[in-house]
């Protein structure tokens, strides 16, 4: 599994945002919802504000082998859909790319 991934971010604020995901993306959210599995093929990485092994995002990430970065404070506020981001899962960082 890659330790660093780069790509376009999609910020999800409600379950209604999931069907809008039509291409490969890095999902950024406060927490995820079961509807995430409907678009799971397009999710190359998950970044969430919550930090718990049994939160929905962590479970889905393990099930589908998707890299996840948890505990990113205010991630859904700091980024917006369309931002290009680089996520380093080893250093536990996310940054906006120019």
């Amino acid at each position: 599994m890659n330790k660093v991934i780069q790509g376009k971010a999609t910020v999800v604020r409600s379950r209604r945002d999931y069907p809008k995901i039509k291409s490969e993306t890095i999902l950024i959210s406060k927490e995820t919802h079961p509807d995430l599995v409907l678009v799971i093929r397009n999710i190359k990485g998950i970044v969430v504000e919550v930090d718990n092994r049994l939160c929905h995002a962590a479970i889905v990430a393990r099930e589908f082998g998707i890299p996840i970065l948890m505990g990113v404070k205010e991630a859904a506020k700091r980024f917006k859909t369309g931002d290009r981001v680089a996520v380093d899962f080893e250093r536990k960082t996310i940054r906006k790319m120019k």
Partner: protein, 142 residues
């Protein structure tokens, strides 16, 4: 909720499943009720908070953190969760006859089932709950 906590201490997964179902039915009765009170709505709120967040993410999580290290041969909690979620054949075969492993696996799968429970198109029927709660919320409630 007290029964569920007691059954969690006892690690009686069958009884835990029954208690969770009882709480879910109690929650559904409030949501289905024609004239629920503000108190009913808050009973439902307590249940959805407990089942949807506090029980799996605090109680089950901490219980697994405490119990998984007691499995022999040793396995970390992250490896345990990954093995169960990914159905990792190599690890599952290694613990195929390990009663502690299987008991904790059943316990984890029960908690996971709550995290994936949806009704009327929303997680834990929360949209219906949110509508009910907003409707009954008294003016000036804080």
């Amino acid at each position: 909720m007290k029964d569920l906590l007691k059954e969690t201490y006892l690690l009686d997964v069958k009884k835990m499943a029954k208690s969770i179902e009882r709480l879910w039915q109690e929650y559904q009765i409030v949501l289905d009720s024609k004239n629920p009170s503000w108190e009913d709505a808050n009973r439902a709120r307590a249940i959805i908070f407990f089942l949807g967040y506090f029980y799996p993410e605090k109680i089950v999580s901490e219980s697994l953190e405490k119990r998984v290290p007691l499995i022999r041969p040793a396995i970390t909690i992250d490896k345990f969760l990954e093995a169960v979620d990914k159905k990792d054949g190599k690890i599952l075969k290694k613990y195929a006859k390990n009663e502690k492993f299987h008991k904790l696996e059943r316990f984890y799968l029960l908690a996971k089932k709550i995290k994936n429970r949806a009704k009327n198109g929303s997680y834990l029927d929360e949209e219906r709950f949110n509508r009910l709660y907003s409707k009954l919320k008294p003016k000036g409630y804080f």
